[in-house]
Every structure is written in structure tokens, then in C-alpha cells.
């Protein structure tokens, strides 16, 4: 069975090269593409046209859930399910419910942030087509890659190849899914 075509993988030798190549791919209007670099390249997110991450939305939901859980738990146990006077204090007050709400805010925010990061990155991901290519080993060491996926609505094999070589790619290979 013939393997399905996944996309193009283009090698660049220096960080400035991939930075400028990313700008060109971004300006060409591609959406389903990515950069592979052996180390974080500062400003590459801007060159790729990435917006700020959506993880904070997960964090906010987690934090609000934690705070509400803490408050309602203390109210439920102390004032509703089993009312008990402790230390001459009222059955429920946001004051003594605050420490537990605060801790749960932090705990649930942390959980939601990690979970949000995993979900948005499609993690855990045990297989990715670039792993089939031997090139990926250099991508972990000294080379920089741009990968444009065939499922991108703008994708056209010849045009994408032309764009990448015009952007200064040293080598372009085709990836199997």
C-alpha cells in the first residue's frame, strides 16, 4: 500500500535563515505548518505569526472552579450538611473559607494549565510523521526545519517547493504520513 503524502520538510542551516523563511511562509498565508528547531529561537513565534496561547483561558476556568469549590465545600460541610459552632464563629464566613479556597484556586489553576497545555498541543502524541524521517535527528542537534502539511487549504506541491527554495532551504524532502 502506498504511503500517503504528509507534507514537505525543508532544512535551514542557521537560526536567522529559518526566522526569515518562517516570515515568508507566514506571509504566503499557510496555516498548517510548523518549525522544528534544536533550541528555542527568540521571536520565532512572531515570525510564524502565532497568536498568544489559549492556555490562560484554561487557567482562568480552573482558578474560578477552585475558588468556588473551596467556598462551597466549607459552606456545605460547616453550615449545611452538619452545622457546628467552632470557636464561637458563625457557621459560614468567607473569612475562614478563604485559605482553603485560595489553595484550591492555585491547585486547580495548576491542573487546568497543565491539562490545557496538553490538550492544545495534542499531547501525548506517540507518533508524528516527521519522526519517520531520519532528518529529525539533525533537527534535535544542529539543523532547522520548516514542515508544511499537505492538508493546508493553500497547499500546492510545486508552489510550496518553490516558496521554500526561494526562502533559502538547503534541502527539501517529502514526508509520508
Amino acid at each position: 500500500m502506498a504511503a500517503t503524502f504528509y507534507g514537505l520538510m525543508a532544512r535551514f542551516d542557521t537560526a536567522p535563515d529559518i526566522y526569515h523563511a518562517a516570515q515568508q511562509v507566514r506571509d504566503a498565508g499557510y496555516k498548517n505548518w510548523d518549525c522544528i528547531t534544536p533550541f528555542p529561537v527568540h521571536g520565532l513565534d512572531g515570525a510564524m505569526g502565532l497568536r498568544r496561547s489559549n492556555v490562560p483561558k484554561f487557567s482562568l476556568i480552573g482558578g474560578l472552579t477552585g475558588f468556588t469549590t473551596g467556598m462551597s465545600m466549607i459552606w456545605f460541610t460547616g453550615a449545611f450538611d452538619y452545622p457546628l459552632i467552632v470557636g464561637g464563629k458563625p457557621y459560614f464566613s468567607p473569612l475562614f473559607a478563604f485559605p482553603i479556597s485560595y489553595e484550591l484556586t492555585i491547585l486547580f489553576t495548576a491542573f487546568a494549565t497543565i491539562a490545557g497545555m496538553f490538550i492544545l498541543n495534542w499531547l501525548p502524541q506517540h507518533y508524528h510523521p516527521v519522526l519517520k524521517s531520519k532528518e529529525i535527528l539533525r533537527g534535535l542537534d544542529d539543523a532547522f526545519y520548516v514542515v508544511i502539511e499537505a492538508r493546508d487549504p493553500k497547499f500546492d506541491l510545486n508552489r510550496a517547493k518553490a516558496l521554500l527554495s526561494q526562502a533559502g532551504a538547503k534541502e527539501i524532502s517529502e514526508l509520508e504520513a
Binding site: H42, R52, P56, G87, G88, K89, L95, F96, F98, P99
Partner: protein, 430 residues
């Protein structure tokens, strides 16, 4: 290291040398404004007497908080060998030249403790009649004073204030002198000397500041116990100094001095610190309230009761001030600063900073003014003529501080051009 220092002086020399230091007239205006404010406060003492002295203490302690916060931020910079804050450090070094002046402005309060004991701090006069403030007997008959009399005496007050202001002046002048000298000779030994002064200065300033604010502010109500008080003051000090920093940064940016020096990452970093210390202040202040609320001991709870209800059970104006502090000092800055774009905005971050600095002043007012009680032991209302005297004190002392800052600003380079970390700071990115 020496070649490194030589190269960076070439890189950094241009923007700093090209900056215009035309602030001489502004410095004089600030001094005149300050003197007018101080004169108005003096008039207040004639009109309102004791209440104006309390207001002056409020205004003075606010600027002491700002300046000690600046001193702490410089020392924290050195102790962590920080990079990004190098460009901003010079402005704090200019600011802390006001510390000896603050000491001088504090002197009238110490003189009053000797000449007219009991006016501000009741325990400076053991014969003070407590029935004036809703108590009974004299201070000398008060067992809570007798047990604390080793600390609460005029002599301790004077010695602590002298050691405090003397030490802060010494440390701040050394830190500034070494930093400025490095601009000329580029010698790394100045960086090492500043690390030495920081290692000495951090514990000294932490302890002396705690002792001083306990005597100056907390002991206005000497019955009270709180283990969080020194840390509470520190939180306010750092918050107001960070607000000052961001206002100075954006001021220098809008003048053009900081073009090419400051970037978005500097704004983001100081914004994150403002956010962190907003949470820190809330943590400390809540802990203080919460421990007292849970333990429910009269020697502690009276301090908050005074700030919420009168003896007849009527909710007083300080209760609203307390609620304002909860929402204005924590909730509002928290929800504002949590947004990433706010921390980058040259319009919004200084506004948030100005707001936080104002609320630090309200917090100081909340801690100082209710200790001025009437004969039934209730606090005088928040809304009163005293607010005017607080305003004149803040303008008066603040004018002197700004004058000292601008004087130093005109004499020094805009950034420490030969600091070993200056390139890291100029090209700072997260």
C-alpha cells in the same frame, strides 16, 4: 572582564551621553512645592494640633516606604546579580538620595516626643492620662506598657530612628557612589563592593525598618500585637517603589531618554513584579487579619474593632476604608495586572502604578489615623480636615523627595553604562 567592560561602554555610551538632563528648573519647582506643602502642614499643626502631627506622620511614613522600597529593589538587584533591571537601577539610585532628607524631616516628630511627650506616641509620657482616649489611669499604671517598657521608651525611639536613617543613608550613598564611579572607570570592583554593601544592607535594613515602623506606626496603639506588621510595611514599600519605577520608566520613555533602552520585556517584567507583590500584600494583610480573627484575643481584636465599629456598635467610616483596601489594594490590581496586555501598555501600567501608590497611602492612613482617638475611645472619622493635612504632608515631603531625585538625575548618567550586566539589560528579552 575588562575587555568586555570596554566594549559595552562603546555600545551603551551613545544613548546615555546623548540624553538631555534639563531638569534643573523642575527640581527647583519641586522644592518650592515641597516647602509650600510643609508650610501648609505647619499651619495645620496650628489649626488642628495633634491631628495634623498624625497626618504628617502618615505622609512621611508613606515616602519612607517608597524610598526604602527603592533601596530594597536595588539591593535585591545586586543580591541576585540581576540582569534586566540594570537600566532601571540608576533611577532608583537617584531616588534614594532623599533618605537623609527624610531623616531630617522626621526630626520634628522626635523633637516633639521630647518637648511635648505623649502628643504622638502616648508611651513617650508615662504620666499620660489614658482617660483622654477612652482608657483609665496613666500609661505608667498600664500593665501592657510596663511589660513592653523596655522597648517603648523615648530613648529607644530616638536611637532606633537615628540608627535607621543613619544606616539607610550610609548604605544608599555607598550603593549609589560605587555605581556612579563605575560609569567613569568601568572597574569591576565597584560591582563587588555593591554586593558587599547589599549583603550587609539587606539584613540591616530589614531589621531596622521593622523596628522603626513598629515604634513609629504600630506602637501608636501600644496594646496591639501583630507578628505580620514589619512584613506588611515591606509589602507596601515594594509595591509603591515598583509603581514609582514604572512611572519613571514611562516618563523617561515619553521624554525620549529611554528610546532604544527600554523595551516591552522590561515593562512586562516590572508588571509581573507588581502583580506578584499585589498577591504578597494580600497574603500578608489577610494573614494578619485572619490570625487575629481566629485567635479572638481582646489585646489584638480591638485594633480591627476600632477600624470598623464605634463603642456604641455603629459601623464607622474606617470600616468602608477597610473594604476599599480589600477591593482597591488587592482585587482591582489583581484582576487588572493579570492581563498580559496591561503589563505591556505604556498608558495603563503607569496608571495602575499611580493607583497602587495612592492606595498604599490610604493603607498607611488606615494604620496611623484611627489611633487618634476621642475621649470615648472611638476613632475620628476618615472624612475630616485631617485628609487635607495628609495631602499637604504628602506634597511637602514628596516635593523634597522629587527635588533630591531630580538633582541626582541631572548629575548622573541615564543608565550605568559600564555595569557588567548592561548589555544583557539593553538587549533584554524573555
Amino acid at each position: 572582564m575588562s575587555t568586555h567592560v570596554a566594549t559595552i561602554s562603546n555600545v551603551a555610551g551613545t544613548p546615555a551621553a546623548g540624553s538631555t538632563h534639563s531638569v534643573g528648573s523642575a527640581a527647583n519647582k519641586a522644592l518650592v512645592l515641597g516647602l509650600v506643602g510643609l508650610a501648609a502642614t505647619g499651619l495645620g499643626v496650628v489649626i488642628s494640633g495633634k491631628a495634623a502631627a498624625f497626618s504628617y506622620l502618615t505622609g512621611l511614613v508613606f515616602w519612607v516606604a517608597v524610598s526604602l522600597g527603592a533601596l530594597f529593589l536595588i539591593m535585591i538587584h545586586h543580591v541576585f546579580d540581576a540582569g534586566w533591571s540594570t537600566v532601571l537601577r540608576r533611577q532608583y539610585e537617584n531616588w534614594i538620595t532623599c533618605l537623609p532628607w527624610l531623616g531630617l524631616l522626621f526630626a520634628p516628630l522626635l523633637i516633639s516626643a521630647v518637648v511635648a511627650p505623649g502628643v504622638i506616641w502616648k508611651w513617650t509620657d508615662p504620666a499620660y492620662d489614658l482617660s483622654q482616649v477612652g482608657g483609665h489611669g496613666t500609661v505608667a499604671q498600664d500593665v501592657l506598657w510596663v511589660k513592653k517598657s523596655g522597648l517603648l521608651s523615648t530613648m529607644t525611639l530616638i536611637i532606633a530612628s537615628f540608627v535607621g536613617f543613619g544606616g539607610w543613608t550610609l548604605i544608599s550613598s555607598r550603593l549609589r557612589a560605587h555605581s556612579v564611579a563605575q560609569d567613569t572607570d568601568g572597574n569591576i570592583s565597584h560591582t563587588h563592593a555593591n554586593r558587599f554593601w547589599t549583603a550587609v544592607g539587606l539584613p540591616f535594613t530589614a531589621l531596622s525598618m521593622t523596628l522603626c515602623v513598629i515604634l513609629w506606626v504600630k506602637a501608636l496603639d501600644y496594646h496591639w500585637y501583630s507578628t505580620m506588621f514589619g512584613v506588611w510595611f515591606f509589602a507596601g514599600a515594594i509595591r509603591s517603589a515598583l509603581s514609582l519605577g514604572v512611572i519613571l520608566m514611562v516618563w523617561l520613555w515619553s521624554r525620549g531618554d529611554y528610546k532604544g533602552i527600554m523595551n516591552n520585556n522590561h515593562m512586562h517584567s516590572i508588571g509581573m513584579l507588581m502583580f506578584a507583590f499585589t498577591v504578597f500584600w494580600a497574603y500578608i494583610t489577610f494573614s494578619q487579619y485572619f490570625l487575629i480573627y481566629m485567635a479572638n484575643i481582646p489585646e489584638e481584636t480591638f485594633w480591627y474593632s476600632l477600624r470598623e465599629i464605634n463603642k456604641d456598635g455603629v459601623f464607622n467610616t474606617w470600616g468602608y476604608v477597610g473594604m476599599f483596601l480589600l477591593f482597591g489594594h488587592f482585587v482591582a490590581p489583581f484582576l487588572t495586572l493579570i492581563h498580559y496586555p496591561v503589563k505591556l501598555s505604556k498608558t495603563w501600567l503607569p496608571r495602575v502604578g499611580a493607583f497602587i501608590a495612592t492606595v498604599v497611602l490610604v493603607d498607611m492612613t488606615y494604620n496611623v489615623m484611627p489611633s487618634l482617638k476621642n475621649s470615648s475611645g472611638d476613632a475620628y472619622p476618615f472624612l475630616s480636615l485631617n485628609l487635607l493635612w495628609i495631602a499637604t504632608s504628602v506634597v511637602g515631603v514628596g516635593g523634597v523627595c522629587v527635588w533630591a531625585y531630580l538633582n541626582s538625575f541631572a548629575k548622573t548618567k541615564l543608565i550605568p553604562i559600564r555595569d557588567p550586566r548592561i548589555v544583557e539589560s539593553l538587549t533584554y528579552h524573555e
